[in-house]
Amino acid sequence: MRESARRPLWTVLWSWDALVIVALVLVIAVGTSTIDGVGTPRFYRFVVLEAIPIALIALPLTLVIITGEIDLSVASTVGLTCCVLGQLWHAGVTSLPLLVVLSLLLGAVLGALNGVFVTVFGLPSLAVTIGTLAFYRGLAYVVLGDRAVADYPVSWTRRMISPIPHTTIPWFVFVVGALALVFGILLYATPVGRALYAIGNNDVAAGFSGIAVLRTKFWLFVATGACSALAGVFWTFRFASARADNATGLELSVIAAVLLGGVSIFGGRGGLVGVLAAVALLGVLRNALQLADVPANDLTIVTGSLLILSVVGPNLARQARDRLRRRRPIPALERTQ
């Protein structure tokens, strides 16, 4: 603590957020100069299209993980929302705003169900959301079976991925940006945000200091469900297809991004800046490797390895730093003697 006066620059340089951003810049620089097609406007369009659903879910999930909980059911929520959306469209709901609102409502209810199991019944979120991972995906199959709903108006599907005028970037990025702003302000600039870290570090102590631990967690699960549903709406119209197996396994990409972004799986550590940088890093890396003709199978190895590295790396760094810090006071003591 005594060193805090001369630490700021050092911590900024060595903070995980900065490291991820540096890695992102490096990957872009190396990719652009060595792989044909990387760095073009078209390339960024595909990176952003792929990153949008991941970022949408990663925003609330970051907050959930900071409180020490987890939600593995997000990809199944996406899949179920796709199916219900498709079925509603089939059943004659032709108003786009109504469809979107109903989807978000469904997502909020699915998230609330997770939240009730975790906060009211006091069950571990890991077990609950493994259960709802299977349950929601199962319901998706119940709703649509092995059919697909793909006959949406072309104007809807085209509008969903249409670019901002004079660029190639899809306009939907503004929605992600607005949500990032909301969640960012919530996390960094409000008492609620500070409370999330307190809960993640020690939820009993947080409860004793007057934080509504259970209510906070409940609403975070609701937010995660709603954002996953929004990702489902985007997914349905981007691919113009609602199928029960939509977004299967997407939870890995999201959790990989959140953890690579420096959020501790044990809670209490990390932030949105690193997570958004990690979403971009993974997106750029995957698309660049694809352009470099790396087979899709090897990409899963890369994602999996990065996920492992993102927990092993900070852990080893922390262990090394602890050892360093433990060694430091001793020469100081000798000097005073």
Partner: protein
């Protein structure tokens, strides 16, 4: 586990805990029996010799995976990579027989177990040495192992024609109406059950799962035990991979894709607490049998097979909810008992 110095209380608590354990497994067995009974009333052929054989065959691989998973979950960890390990070893078995047609079956079994143990050692090494959470590491290796599997297979598949006849008959032969494969599962189950119940190292796994810090303070080599648990889980997944190849004959890189969910479901439904310290491999195997039976009972009962996944999910939620209720009741009763003594 409950360890109170006063001998009388310890015995009372231990018998109570044991009764609870029996009740928990009895509950799954009853649910299984009920399901079979209802289904048989609807369609008597559900209990024919052939369909019992199919049920046992279907449950075998899941039960072996669930046994390994239970060992890991008891230590308050989880191994999500078992499906991928199964995929790698199933494909490796196929390639082994294709490239070296004369390979003895025992050698194939040992090779599969060895590859699985190696994969488990990777998981366990990362988790025990670098002290990172098992959920994240095995989620990562789930994709790494599967990716290696795909890269190795490059779309090839090994057909039943490439496998020796003796190996394939392992998957179909029966002894007194019981499939040979199911005997493998029973042997694995009995050995694992015995080690967990009666060996010191087995009991230490429960201690680690109940409270890792307390276990470390009481001199249990936590890292080494957790490492061993993951090696065991990997080795059993490897064995399951070889048996998968024997049962289906044709293997590609997709074997066991997504099966980790069913395995975790079987373990949780079987009464192994997801946060460690309680449960048994027998419960996990019963959970595997229950899930398999649900899978084949739904069509017989005239229920849309698309409901199966939802049923698995609902069953997980019901099981953890039930465990919670039981745990709360036990805690209340134990607290009440102590209050009366005081």
């Amino acid at each position: 586990m409950i360890t109170t110095p006063a001998p009388v209380r310890a015995r009372g608590a231990a018998t109570f805990a044991r009764r609870l354990l029996v009740a928990r497994e009895l509950g799954i067995a009853l649910a299984l029996a009920l399901l079979v009974a209802v289904t048989t009333i609807r369609n008597p052929r559900f209990l024919s010799a052939q369909s019992i054989k199919d049920l046992l065959l279907g449950a075998t691989i899941l039960a072996i995976l669930a046994t390994g998973q239970a060992i890991v979950v008891i230590t308050r960890n989880v191994d999500l990579s078992v499906g991928s390990v199964l995929g790698v070893t199933a494909f490796a078995t196929g390639v082994l027989f294709k490239d070296h047609p004369g390979t003895p079956i025992v050698l194939a079994l040992l090779a599969g177990i060895g590859i699985g143990a190696l994969a488990g050692a990777v998981n366990g090494g990362l988790i025990a040495a670098a002290q990172v959470p098992a959920l994240v590491v095995t989620l990562g290796t789930l994709y790494v192992f599967r990716g290696l599997d795909y890269t190795w297979a490059t779309g090839r598949q090994v057909n039943a024609a490439d496998m020796p006849h003796g190996f394939l008959s392992l998957g179909t032969r029966t002894i007194l109406g019981v499939p040979v494969l199911a005997l493998f599962a029973v042997a694995v189950l009995l050995i694992a059950g015995f080690v967990l119940r009666s060996y010191r190292s087995g009991r230490e796994l429960y201690a680690i799962g109940s409270d890792p810090d307390a276990a470390r303070l009481s001199g249990i080599p936590v890292g080494r035990r957790v490492f061993a648990a993951f090696v065991a889980s990997g080795a059993l997944a490897g064995l399951a991979g070889v048996l998968h190849a024997a049962r289906f004959g044709t293997v590609d890189a997709n074997a066991g894709l997504g099966s980790e969910l069913n395995v975790v479901a079987a373990v949780v439904v079987g009464g192994v607490a997801i946060f460690g310290g309680s449960g048994s491999v027998y419960g996990a195997a019963l959970g595997a049998a229950l899930l398999t039976t649900i899978g084949s009972a739904l069509p017989v009962l005239g229920i849309d097979p698309f409901w199966q996944r939802a049923a698995v999910g609902a069953l997980i939620l019901a099981a953890i909810g039930l465990d919670r209720v039981l745990a709360v009741r036990t805690a209340r009763r134990l607290r009440g008992g102590r209050a009366r003594d005081a």
